[in-house]
């Protein structure tokens, strides 16, 4: 249960997204585009790359600190979703045992390198996705998707989904509490009970949708929903786009880590 609660604790990210900082104010379109480019750059590294990925931590750290987002909230969520990447990656050290480098005489196999690389890519991409929502807000994302020319039906029902998510989550939490109050230990979780609970929840949802539709009609709904446009792209947004993409490109084509490492190594010599 605690896993589920943690997993579904999405209201918290939502509250974070209503802060007002520099990154919160950047146009959502720009943030989505920059984050997507960031992810493309990160995953474009070959599978044994570890050190060249380090500079890329700059971007999530920037979103985190400039957006005033608590690190703990993001870190917790990353840990909760890590199992699949770990599951796929953990076979690499077992299967790829050729030693490809041995710093300070410690042999490191290719498998371990690629495993660490997968985990680093995972942390970078996942934290960026979480931070993107934490500094943008979901309605902001929807506005951006609509203005990036995604189909309107899709965007509108995405907004609907988000709005009713919280209502229905509370409804199902009440049902779960009622079930737990009426059953002991593992009882009450049989398939039969489950099917009935879900079915009732489904019917309630459909009936709610019918009521919502009536309410919409009575407020003048004609099959069109206007999505609120609150953002405009200004000079700061363009600057943010240019600076970040240039930095990603430099990080990708220059091996900054090695350059720094060599400089330091030489000065000790």
């Amino acid at each position: 249960m605690s896993f589920d609660l943690e997993f579904f604790n999405i209201g918290y990210l939502d509250t974070l997204s209503y802060k007002d900082t520099f990154v919160h104010r950047i146009d959502p379109r720009i943030k989505i585009i920059v984050s997507f480019i960031f992810i493309l750059f990160v995953v474009s590294f070959q599978k044994y790359e570890v050190s060249a990925l380090m500079p890329f931590f700059l971007y999530p750290v920037f979103l985190l600190t400039a957006g005033n987002i608590p690190l703990k909230a993001i870190a917790k969520k990353i840990v909760f979703v890590s199992p699949f990447a770990v599951f796929i990656g953990i076979f690499n050290p077992l299967l790829d045992t050729g030693v490809i480098l041995s710093p300070f005489g410690i042999p490191v196999s290719g498998g371990w390198l690629s495993f660490i690389s997968i985990i680093m890519k995972f942390v970078l991409t996942v934290s960026t996705a979480l931070l993107l929502i934490a500094v943008t807000s979901f309605p902001g994302i929807c506005e951006a998707l609509e203005r990036l020319k995604l189909p309107k039906v899709f965007v509108i029902q995405l907004l609907f989904l988000y709005r009713y998510l919280f209502v229905l989550l509370e409804e199902s939490l009440r049902m779960i509490r009622a079930r737990d109050a009426r059953s002991f230990g593992k009882r009450g979780k049989e398939m039969k009970t489950f099917i009935r609970l879900i079915s009732v929840l489904l019917i309630r949802s459909v009936e709610r949708a019918e009521r919502i539709f009536c309410a919409m009609l009575s407020r003048g709904f004609r099959g069109e929903i206007k999505v609120l446009r609150r953002h405009t792209i200004n000079a700061y947004d363009i600057l943010f786009l240019i600076i970040s993409v240039t930095m990603f490109y430099l990080f990708r084509s220059f091996h900054i880590v090695n350059i720094i490492g060599e400089t330091v190594g030489r000065s000790f010599r």
Partner: protein
């Protein structure tokens, strides 16, 4: 079985995005032509229902552990393929943003893996084909279980293929398939029986929801095998096109696999004048142009040399030193911004 960004190459991720985006636009167009206005709130609320329903867990028979439903096929049966595909895509979008399930690049692949198969294979070609004439409870159960199981098998197969094509994992294809397919067969059967149970129970209480959402049925009945095959063919062409576009524009990501095939990663350097110039600049600015510390233990380097790809120990040590330094700089940068923020708040 959500894909993760870390397991995808840009080419595969981009190709899957192209395919999924194309399908979203296609479905939206289909719905715009024929949709009942009632569907808009219904789609949104049912998407939220999938989340809420996933909170309610049940004991998996015979194992004692607990699980929850995925709900793709349930949506397809309730809403018809086009609306259901959009709802599944939205559910996955919310999951990608809020739970970081997968990630943004992998979202395209996830929509494909979990949306296409129930909506455009499982529902029209299996479920509808079986239930069309005779909708007795037994037949509905059979059709649901079969379509859910096949949909999940195809989804799991796609995960395997996408990961393989990205070249991230070392798992041999056979082992990978053996790991994924049987698990998802079990998951598919359980999910299938749960879905069938829900369909049948809802049918006893509100038969109209399952059998008779009129706008939906008229949209749904237009799906034929021929159409599906043609659409899939076109989508394959689009994804193939996107794939080759990515391959030519982002040689870096494919460098590795191309290196494996041709053994000549150098070809691309000439194709891209920008990176060529940058490489020259890089050589000028770098303190040691060939990237490597004069290694003290040259003898050891020779010992490890045969294992491929031979990385010089000098490079790896400067990699470690530099990596730690950069990480330190990033942390300092973070604290710097925090301190600036605090100072501004006080002012």
């Amino acid at each position: 079985m959500h894909m993760a960004d870390a397991l995808l190459s840009p080419a595969v991720g981009g190709a899957m995005w192209a395919g999924s985006l194309g399908t979203i636009i296609y479905c939206a167009k289909k719905l715009r032509d024929k949709m009942d206005e009632k569907m808009i709130p219904l789609m949104g609320v049912l998407g939220a229902f999938i989340f809420a329903g996933q909170m309610i867990n049940f004991t998996i028979p015979g194992t004692g552990s607990s699980g929850h439903i995925g709900g793709g096929m349930l949506l397809a049966i309730l809403l018809g393929p086009y609306a259901a595909f959009l709802v599944i895509a939205s559910v996955l979008t919310v999951q990608a943003f809020f739970f970081a399930d997968g990630g943004l690049l992998a979202l395209g692949a996830n929509i494909w893996n979990l949306g296409i198969y129930p909506c455009f294979i499982g529902y029209p070609l299996i479920y509808r084909a079986i239930v069309r004439k005779n909708n007795s409870p037994k037949l509905i159960t059979f059709a649901t279980v079969l379509s859910v199981a096949i949909g999940l098998q195809l989804g799991a197969l796609s995960v395997v293929l996408e990961t393989r094509m990205s070249g991230i994992t070392e798992l041999p294809l056979g082992t990978f398939l053996l790991l994924m397919q049987p698990i998802h067969l079990a998951v598919g059967l359980i999910e299938g029986f749960a879905t069938a149970g829900i369909i049948l129970y809802v049918r006893t209480l509100r038969p109209d929801i399952v059998d008779d959402i009129e706008g939906v049925k008229s949209v749904a009945s237009g799906v034929s095998l021929k159409k599906v095959l043609i659409t899939m063919g076109i989508l394959a062409l689009i994804t193939g096109g996107a794939f080759s576009w990515f391959a030519s524009n982002h040689p870096d990501g494919l460098e590795w696999s191309i290196e494996k095939i041709y053994g000549k990663p150098e070809i691309h350097r000439k194709l891209n004048p920008v990176s060529e110039n940058l490489a020259k600049l890089q050589e000028k600015t770098a303190i040691l142009p060939d990237y490597s510390l004069p290694s003290k233990d040259g003898g050891k380097a020779e010992e490890t040399a045969p294992s491929w790809p031979a990385v010089e120990p000098g490079t790896s040590i400067s990699g470690i030193i530099g990596g730690l330094m950069v990480l330190g700089l990033v942390i300092v940068f973070g604290f710097g911004i925090k301190a600036m923020r605090k100072m501004r708040d006080r002012a």
